[in-house]
Amino acid sequence: MALNQSLRPGLIQLRVLDLDETLKFYKDILGMDEVCRTSDGRVCLKTYDEFDHHSVTLRLADEAGLDYVAFKVASNETLQEMVKATEQFGYTVTEVPADSDQPGYGKRYRFKICTGHTFELYSEVALAEKTPGTINPDIWNEPPRGMGVIRLDHFLLYGPNIEEAERYCTEVMHMYVPELCNKPDGKRMATWITGSNKPHDLAFVEYDKPGKIHHVGFLLQDWNHVGQVADLIAINRLKKDIGPTRHAITRGQTIYFWEPSGNRIEVYAGGYTAYPDNPQRVWDVDHLGRGLFYYEGEIIPSFLEIVT
C-alpha cells in the first residue's frame, strides 16, 4: 500500500436519458464547466478546481447509469506495472488509444472487473484550458456557480463478489481499505477503498445484479455549503434522497439527490484523513444504519435499494 501510485478516480462516463436537461443541471446547478463535445455527441465537463482536461463525460443513452470509471495513476511506469498485474489477476485488458474517445486523454487501459463494472487506468491527460491558478494563485478565477462542487471525489458501485473487487484494488492498484462492513457470516457487505488520504476513492456494496452505480460523489468545502446545496435542491425542485446529514463511516457531511436522468449524486464535505498504517474501522451490519446515517441512526431503505 502506498499513497503515490493510484492518484484518484479522474474520469467517469455516465449515461443520461435527456442530454440537454441533464447537462443544464451539471452546468448551472452542480456548477461544472462544459469543456468540449465529442463527434458522437458526448459532453465533457470539469469542476472549477480541477486541473485535468475533464472529469465527467455524459453520453445520451436509453438507460441511465455508468459506462466506466477511470483512475489516474502516478506515472507510465506505474501504469504498465498495474496493467501487467491486472492481466495476472485474471482480467482481460484492452488498450484505448490516446486522444480517441476522450479528448485530451493519453492511452487508457480498459477491463471489466468481477462486479461487472468497467474500469480504466491511465497516467497521462492534458491540462484543461482553464485550470486553477498556480503562480501566487487566487482561490478561484471565476466565482463558482450553483453548488460549486470542488472536484470529483468518489463513487459507490453495486455488484457481485465485492471481496474480489476489494482484493483487486489493494493487490493491483495498491489501494487500502480504511473501513468495511461484514455480514454476520463474515462475508463482506460493503467496503470503502482509497489510494489517497481521502477516506474513500471508491466503495462497493455487495449486490446480485452486476454493473450498477449507487452514486457519484463530488467534494464541497464545508457544512455551510452542504446547507446551500439543500437550498438549491429545493429551489430547483430536484428530488432529494437523504440529508443533510453525516456519515459515521468516512465522517463525511452529506446530501444525496438525483440528477434529471436519475443518476444519484452525493455532495460531500469533511471526512477524516485516511492513512494506510491506521487500524481499519469495522462495522457490523446491525450497526450499519448508524454508520451510514449518524443523525438518523437507522437505515433509510431508498438509500440501499435504489441504484441505476
Partner: protein, 96 residues
C-alpha cells in the same frame, strides 16, 4: 372540454387526483397510501414502475430501457414519474 383533474385508481381500490400536465408520481406524493416508494423522479431508477390497465396518457420524459423494455411498454408498463394522464387511469402491479 378540459378537465381540471383526472382520477387515478390504484390496485387496492384507493384513488387520488392528478392535474393535467402533472406526472402521476408527483400527484401520488399528495396521497397518503401510495403503494410505491419514491426514487429518482427522472426515469432512471425504475422504482415507480406500474402498468396502466385503462386510460390514456402522455409520456413526459424518456424511461430507462433497463426498467421498461419496448415489449413491456407495449403492454402498458410505464414509470409513474414519466407520464401524465389524458384521461382517468387505472393502475396495476404486474410483471412484464
Amino acid at each position: 372540454m378540459t378537465n381540471d383533474h383526472f382520477h387515478i385508481r390504484l390496485p387496492d381500490g384507493g384513488a387520488f387526483t392528478c392535474r393535467p400536465g402533472e406526472s402521476v408520481l408527483a400527484a401520488m406524493q399528495r396521497y397518503e397510501n401510495a403503494p410505491i416508494r419514491y426514487g429518482c423522479f427522472g426515469g432512471g431508477c425504475g422504482v415507480c414502475r406500474m402498468r396502466v390497465v385503462s386510460g390514456t396518457y402522455h409520456q413526459l420524459k424518456r424511461m430507462s430501457r433497463a426498467h421498461v423494455t419496448v415489449d413491456c411498454e407495449r403492454e402498458g408498463i410505464v414509470l409513474m414519474c414519466c407520464i401524465t394522464p389524458l384521461s382517468d387511469l387505472t393502475l396495476a402491479f404486474s410483471a412484464c
